[in-house]
């Protein structure tokens, strides 16, 4: 018995008619009860991977073992659920009617159905709006209803596809707290998002996918500490001239982006030298960051900064 909720080996998928594969050689393991971030730019292959894991797309190549079951296995659908990015419910129905419908589709009835609905309503704090047509809900309440439907079958593994897109800070905070609670109750969460601060605060580990390939998988802690001691980020009052940049370049690699200066330094002593050079050239330092990385920087350095189509 493995402690992994998901084990993928050499997963590949090509859409019929496509020239290039959407996924190739993806192998990763996700620990049971963890919150795992799945990151990547738009079109990287995240949705394709989620579609394979949830049974929407067939497994073309490789092996996937989920919750102890080998894909393809229809019984797996009883133990997993997805909360799609879309509001995947019926707008003309109320929250209660939607939950009643989806619980029925899971084959639930009687007291058990009511118990599951009550649990989902409680976790997502839907009580006060349950009788209203869901079309009248705010974006935040719609997201919560979307999440609540995903909880009805009490899944071992819950896939969350950008569950906080387009909502206010309060709703986002509530949803993130709810996800933490679910994880603490033993549920494995697979979380995709473009909000790096969410992933950093929520996830134990993550994988970065781009162009259909797995670029990296590691714990969040390891990633933000990786090479952190060598990187200094300065926010300056103005852009330095060529002479300043040349002087700084002697200390390590230099990356300028408007008034943001990033340096890969050889040693902590070099940091003092860099500050001195800037002062000598009449440039004030407004902000200095030295130590652990932001996940967003790590992510951008892995996937490169270039815009995607």
């Amino acid at each position: 018995m493995t402690d992994n909720a998901i084990e993928l080996t050499d997963i590949a998928f090509t859409y019929p008619g496509a020239i290039r594969p959407s996924l190739q050689g993806v192998s990763l393991s996700i620990a049971r009860g963890s919150c795992f971030g799945l990151l990547g730019p738009n079109g990287a292959g995240k949705t394709t991977l989620l579609s394979i894991l949830t049974g929407i797309l067939p497994l073309q190549q490789g092996r996937a073992r989920i919750a102890g079951l080998e894909l393809p296995d229809d019984t797996l659908k009883q133990r997993t659920a997805i909360v799609p990015q879309d509001y995947a419910f019926y707008m003309a129905l109320s929250g209660r009617e939607n939950l009643d419908c989806f619980a029925g589709l899971y084959g639930l009835n009687g007291a058990e159905k009511q118990r599951r609905i009550d649990f989902a309503v409680q976790v997502c704090a839907l009580g006060p709006v349950l009788g209203q047509p869901s079309a009248q809900y705010s974006g935040g309440v719609k997201r919560r209803l979307n999440l609540a439907i995903g909880l009805l079958n009490q899944p071992d593994i819950l896939y969350l596809d950008e569950p906080t897109v387009g909502i206010d800070a309060q709703s986002r905070h509530f949803i993130l707290e709810s996800i933490r609670d679910l994880q603490h109750s033993g549920m494995t969460i697979i979380y995709t998002s473009h909000y790096m601060e969410e992933v950093q605060s929520l996830c134990d580990a993550l994988a970065v996918i781009d162009h259909g390939q797995l670029l990296l998988t590691d714990t969040v802690a390891n990633l933000v500490e990786r090479d952190a001691a060598c990187t200094a980020r300065f926010t300056l009052d103005r852009s330095p001239g060529d002479a300043t940049l040349a002087a700084l370049a002697a200390l390590g690699s230099v990356h300028m982006d408007q008034q943001q200066l990033r340096m890969e330094l050889a040693s902590p002593q070099s940091l003092e030298t860099a500050q001195r050079i800037l002062r000598e050239h009449g440039i004030s330092i407004r902000q200095l960051h030295y130590g652990s990385n932001r996940l967003e920087d790590v992510y951008l350095s892995i996937t490169e900064h270039a815009l995607r189509d």
Partner: protein, 382 residues
Amino acid sequence: MTALLASIHKELRLLMRDVHGLLLLFLMPMAFILIMSLALQNQFAERSGVRLTVLVDDQSHSAASESVLQSLANNTAFEWQPAADDASNKQQLGNDKAAFLLQLHDGKDSILATITVAPGTNAQVEALFVAAVREAIGRERIVDLVNYLDPDTDPDTLLDDSAVTVHYHAAKESGKAPSSVQQSVPAWLVFAMFFVVVPLSNALISERQQGTLKRLRTMPIPLWLPIAGKWIPFFLVNQVQVVLMILVGLFVVPLFGGDRLTLGSSFAGLALMSCAISMAALGYGLLVAVVARTTDQATTLGATGNIILAALGGVMVPRFVMPETMQQLSMASPMAWGLEGLLDIFLRDGSMTSVLPEAGSLLAFGLVTVALAGWLSRKQRA
């Protein structure tokens, strides 16, 4: 079973909240049936052999006028009713309840007739009626003349109707043409049943666009269940349409002065046709849902397709008034199969066996469209 019931329950809830859809499926065809049954009543009456009413005002009260009326009474194309007062006569003519007012009075040598024609009376019918009256009066004059010239001769031997023999080139296809209500109820019923194409395809496309279909595919339910969850409620909607439209033909149209629908005697045949039309319409709806990418496209495609099929299939223009080529062409429309099957039941007292060809064609159409939709859907997903 729980999942299927949940899906059906959800769909019925959605349907009940779709006011526009309900108006389209129920109110529109009911209005069409009522309006068309009443508006075309006279036109259909002439073809279907329904007798036109003639108000008779015999001011002569002579043996001659009685003889003329006796002669006219043999003409079964008309129903002869004694005229009332002037006001009543004018009212009956004015609203086309009666086609003619015939007044007989004494002339110098013989009976004279004055004919008042109702505004809605067809010119050909008018010509035939005038000819019939002339012939009756002429016949009376001949009898008088023969009696005067040769009292020993029986005038009836000279006026022998066997001089003219009528042959029919071929038996009429249906044997009987429908009245306006007999045409309108099945025609607009078939049209309405096919209109489930619009809400059905819209419901399927909305699920696809909103991501609900994707969510359903991650749930532990068979692939056919979301389709069956829609198919069954819309099938029920079709059956309710059948009952309601028939009730309109039976009770509402007569309330407004129209004819009452006759149902025939085969309930089983009617049920078979009702199921077969529904299957064909739902299959077509499924195909539209797969072909169209948006609800707007589905509405345009479904509604336009329905109108073309209806125009071709004899819903808007009865097949029996179409030229021969168009009549043959019209049988390409599944609505024509549905309409002919229902006319077999309502009009020609057909049985379940007699509607098997039409029902079979409709079921085959349903199967083919479902298969085509399945094939296209797989191709699109691939």
